[in-house]
Every structure is written in C-alpha cells, then in structure tokens.
C-alpha cells in the first residue's frame, strides 16, 4: 500500500541528467511549499466559501454582527494639546493601554467620543475615549469563526506602520506567488507522466476552455 506507484513517477533516467535534476527540484519545491502553505490555502478556500454563502452562514448566528463584550472601563485623565490629530491621540491612548497595534480611528469631533478600532485577527477590540467623562471603555468582539475567516482573507498587510502587519503581508505575497508556481509546476509534473497525458489534456483543456468562455462572456 505504501509502495510508490511506478506509473505515477516519470521514467527514471539511467544517469542523472540536468533535466532530471530540475524535475526533481520542481517536484520537491512543489511539495514542500504546499506542505508549508497549506494553512494559508485552507484559510483562503474556507473564507471564500463563507463570503460567497454569507446569507446561509449568517443564518447560523443570532445576529448579523458579533456582539461587543465589555472588557474593562477605566478612568483616563490624560489631556491632549488641541493641535494633536485624532490619529496621534488614538495611538497615544492605545500605547497607554498597552494595546498598540494596527488600528483605525473615527469620531472624536464635535463632542463625540473617539472610537479606536484595534484590529485583531481573532477578535477586534473597540476602545472608546470619552474625554468629557475622562473614561475609556474597552470592548472585545465576540469570536465568530465566519468573521475570523472573513477578516483574515481581507487582511493584506503593508498598510500600517507595524512590522507584524508587514510580516503578514509578506506571507500572503509568498502564498500568492507560490500559487502561480504550483499552477505552472503542476503542468510540468503532469506532462512528465506519459500514462496520464490524455486524460490530463482533457482536464486541462476543459478547465482552460470554461475559463476562457466565462472570461469573455460575463
């Protein structure tokens, strides 16, 4: 059962040639990169299914958006100079709370509280600064698998001044470049196995044909 299938492997050359070395290298890179990046691929596949079947997925939850649960409410007495931007204030608040990281800021004008959305892959936090009452409210979004997958899918990285954000962006870049490599190397590896050329041609031809038709028509 564990023996390799002879018909699945390309014909072994008697002596190692540059071609066979390249072929082996492609085979190994194809396999090891796929093994390493399998969590990213699973995440993208499952999150796409969640996105395309949003209504159905949401029917399993009691509300459209996850509930916000209060974590802490603190006194916050720091005052800010009037020439400070809302972004700078938001950053300072997060640093004071030990929550520095990727975030966006809204509100904070015309007496409205400043709302800082501190992004997090697992569950986003909302920090509300009420400068008049000198209070800070920290709320955490209830964890939802569907929201988590959706958020990860949309996270691209590079847009915020945090190394972690860039690391994620780089990992996504690697994953998408490798996807192109898998496509091309997959065709190469298939062509080397003579026994499956006919059916493989049919599968590839059907895929390319369908794709081309849809690209042109819709």
């Amino acid at each position: 059962m564990n023996a390799p299938l002879a018909s699945e492997e390309p014909a072994k050359p008697k002596a190692e040639t540059p071609g066979s070395t390249v072929s082996l290298l492609i085979r190994r890179v194809h396999m090891f990169t796929a093994l390493f990046l399998s969590p990213w691929m699973l995440m993208y596949a499952l999150s796409t299914l969640v996105m395309t079947h949003r209504e159905y997925v949401l029917s399993f939850y009691p509300s459209k958006s996850p509930a916000m649960v209060t974590e802490r409410e603190l006194d916050y007495t720091r005052s800010f100079p009037t020439n400070m931007t809302l972004e700078e204030i938001g950053l300072q608040v997060l640093q004071d709370l030990g929550l520095d990281g990727t975030h966006s800021v809204s509100g904070g004008r015309n007496g409205r509280p400043l709302v800082i959305n501190r992004q997090n892959a697992l569950s986003t936090r909302r920090v509300t600064l009420d400068a008049t009452a000198q209070k800070v409210l920290i709320q955490r979004e209830e964890f939802r698998a569907a929201t988590f997958l959706d958020r990860l899918h949309r996270r691209r990285g590079y847009n915020h001044p945090y190394a972690l954000e860039d690391t994620w962006g780089f990992s996504v870049d690697v994953a998408v470049v490798i996807m192109v490599f898998w496509s091309l190397s997959g065709v190469w590896l298939w062509w080397e196995i003579k026994a499956v050329r006919l059916w493989g041609s049919l599968a590839l031809g059907a895929g390319l044909g369908l794709f081309a038709i849809f690209a042109a028509l819709i």
């Binding site: 796929a34 399998s38 990727t102 590079y158 994620w168 990992s171 898998w182 499956v196 599968a203 819709i218």
Partner: protein
Amino acid sequence: MITFDKINRRAHLYLGLFLMPWLMMYGVSSFIVIHQSWFGANKVLARELLFEKAYNRPVNMQGANNSPELRATAQEILKDCNLEGAFWVDKPNADTLHIDRFSFRGSTSLTYSIKDQKLTAMHRRMKLPQVAMRMHFRGGYGQPTFGNKFWGLLVDVACVGIVIWVASGLIMWWRLPRMRVWGAIAVGSGILSFVLLVWTL
C-alpha cells in the same frame, strides 16, 4: 485493482489541471489586489458615451440601494437596452436611478433621470489588472443569468478543490516514507508560523 493511493493521486492531478486557470487567476489577481499601485490598477480609464435617449418607465424608488424592488426595476431597464447581466443599482438622489452593469472586461453605467425622462449610458473599459481583480472578487449566486450563477458554482468548486488538494497532498506526502521527516518539518513550521501570526496579528 485501483488502489486508494491511485485515486488520491489522480484526484490531485486532474482536479489541479482542471482548476489550474482559477488557481493562476487567484494567484495573479491577489498580488495585484495587494499591490494595486504597482500595476496602475487604481487608475481608471475614462468613460465613453454609449447613448443618450428619451426614456420613460414608471420606477418604484421606495427600496434601498440594490434592494430587490430597485433591482427588479433596473432589470427591466437593462432588458429594454439589451444589456442584461450582472449589475448593482443605487439612487444617487430622489429622482435618479443609477445602474452599474458590470462584466470582467468593463462596466456600463446607466443613469435614468426620472424628472427629465432621459437615459444615459456610459461605458468604461477595464485594464488587464482590473480585469484580474474583477475575476477575483466575483462569486456567489446573487446576480441574474445562468452564466453568472455558473461562475459562482465554479468559484465554489475551486474552493472545495483547494481543500481536496491540501488533503490529498498530505496523504501523498505521507505515503513517501523518505519524505516524512522533512515534510513534517514543512507542515509543522507552516502551521506554527500561521498560528503565531494569527495569534499576534
């Protein structure tokens, strides 16, 4: 007799070949989405006038943007213009209906002024990077016509296909005893990197 190993390998191979254009498209388009400015994908081409004509159709403007009521009206307008297909509809103001009839290669913007009883159509072509992005974002079954729904099905098949590739790939690796140690390192480091990133991100 066909063994499980052989079925697994064949499934990995043929599914891969069939879905290769989608995998390629998602790879290329994701890179463009992330680095839009590198490809000029954030710069749009100018719209060209297709037609401007007198037009009169009673419109139910009660629904919200892209609501079923508004979509039903928009679909009738598109039918009148022989432009049926995927679209979004919104109300820029109380007496104007705007329809974005989109495809991978372009988008036709129809503006119906109820007050002036005038229908204007402008077309915008998409640049190649934008075509790739449009393919990337298109999925689901919410748009009319068989073609749009079939594309939605193909996107679902591609997603299920990726899950099958991962599962069948893991089985194929495990069946190669010489590769188990290095493979385990690759799988383990991949899972660890992913979990660490997600945990701290």
